[in-house]
């Protein structure tokens, strides 16, 4: 019996992640918890997150999830999802600037700040973000977009390059020097859709909502020993 802990710090819907893990895993016990001991006893850990980063970080610190995640990131396979991924970085420009966990170096930036001054089309209330043909793009980045795999990480096993995954976010990760992206996606700018660092893997998209490709990634995560 493999034990998987989904870290619960009160932000968002953890039911989806738990259900998807139960769906793909044979002989898997999924525990949604904020208890340090239970997380320490798990074989695999998921660090999810939705909502505003300021509230997420406040709860992470209040419940000492920061210490738990730092420990787990050194010791066992850890998958961070969406705002969970963003929380690993040095800081986010959301909510006027929020310091994050600093477990991976880099920043979290807003899509809407891209070249906003250069927009000539005043008939549309757009973000300033443009696609390759110059058409305005909506923020949040919501829906199915392609992820270009930039390495042969075990979590990509059985998933075709440029498979579409489901995204919903207004902020994106830019990695600092020395950090490794596993996947890149284009939405006005090219951003880090997946990254890896030792036994840590993080994705901006929602594998639990990305049908075949997402379920395969979760299956790969459950089979992963944390080495690359």
């Amino acid at each position: 019996m493999k034990k998987v802990a989904v870290i619960d710090y009160g932000m968002g819907n953890l039911h989806s992640v738990a259900k998807a893990l139960e769906h793909v895993g044979d002989n898997v016990k999924v525990l949604v918890t904020s208890d340090a001991k239970a997380i320490a006893q798990a074989d695999h850990v998921i660090f999810p997150g939705v909502g505003a980063i300021r509230d997420c970080m406040a709860e992470i610190r209040r419940l000492h999830i920061d210490e738990i995640v730092a420990e787990v990131s050194r010791t066992k396979p850890l998958l961070a999802i969406c705002v969970g991924m963003q929380a690993l970085m040095d800081s986010s420009e959301e909510n006027g600037g929020v310091p994050c966990l600093g477990l991976v170096h880099g920043e979290v930036r807003f899509f809407g700040n891209v070249d906003a001054g250069a927009v000539g089309d005043t008939t549309r209330a757009c973000s300033g973000l443009r696609d390759d043909d110059g058409a305005p793009l909506k923020v949040p980045h919501m829906g199915w977009n392609c992820v270009r795999q930039t390495d042969h990480h075990p979590l990509w096993r059985g998933i075709e390059d440029n498979t579409r995954f489901y995204f919903v976010h207004s902020y994106y990760v830019t990695l600092g020097a020395g950090e490794k992206a596993s996947g890149l996606t284009r939405y006005g700018v090219e951003f880090t859709a997946a990254l890896n660092k030792g036994n840590l893997f993080a994705v901006q998209f929602h594998p639990e909502k990305s049908q075949h490709g997402g379920l395969q990634l979760l299956r790969n995560f459950l089979a992963w020993d944390g080495t690359h």
Binding site: H15, S16, H23, V50, A52, S127, G143, R164
Partner: protein
Amino acid sequence: MALAKRIIPCLDCDKGRVVKGVKFLDIRDAGDPVEISRRYSDAGADEITFLDITASHEGRETTVQTVELIAGQVFIPLTVGGGIRTLEDIRTMLNAGADKVSINTAAVFNPDFVREAAERFGSQCIVVAMDAKKVSQPGEAERWEIFTHGGRKATGIDAVEWARRMVSYGAGEILLTSMDRDGTKSGFDLGLNRAVSDAVSVPIIASGGVGTLQDLVDGVQIGHADAVLAASIFHFGEFTIPQAKRYMADKGITMRL
């Protein structure tokens, strides 16, 4: 290699069954919501929207159970709407497995509810549903108003202004239904769609009136919709989702195939 436009089949549910009416009347039974959701997901639907049209308390309990069943078997985004009035309603639906909730009437009567909901749960899960009807006369500049109670009550609120306000309050997406077109199969109200889509920064789901696959294409290309929602063309087997996706892709729209 760009973000795909989405096809969202919509399940109007009453007491645990999928139904579909014309202009909110003449309800026809279309089947079991869990079974239908799974079929649509397998067929390549990009999301599922589940609108609960049940008014009774017992009916609501059934809805929560149905959402739980769908969420345990269908791994694409699920939006639940209908009767969402309190933060507790939202929490219940998210805990049952919904990824987003759609707020309609409650937003009109208490706009601050949208702000509170977005602050508590995040804009990514707050969809504001707007039912709009054209109120301008032929020859005048087009103007639409928000209606409530299934299109029976006028509010005097301008649809474009309302969309801007809801986005400023934290709506992450707008589900825009034309009350003139809903159930008529005469195509989306493209003027309405384009006016609202161009006025706000968040994605717009066009709804109400799909009769042909070209209507879906027009919704995106002329109406500037980011997603298209349809019910009857899929429920009654006129078209399949792969057919619709292929047709849209052939017309140059980026789709997840």
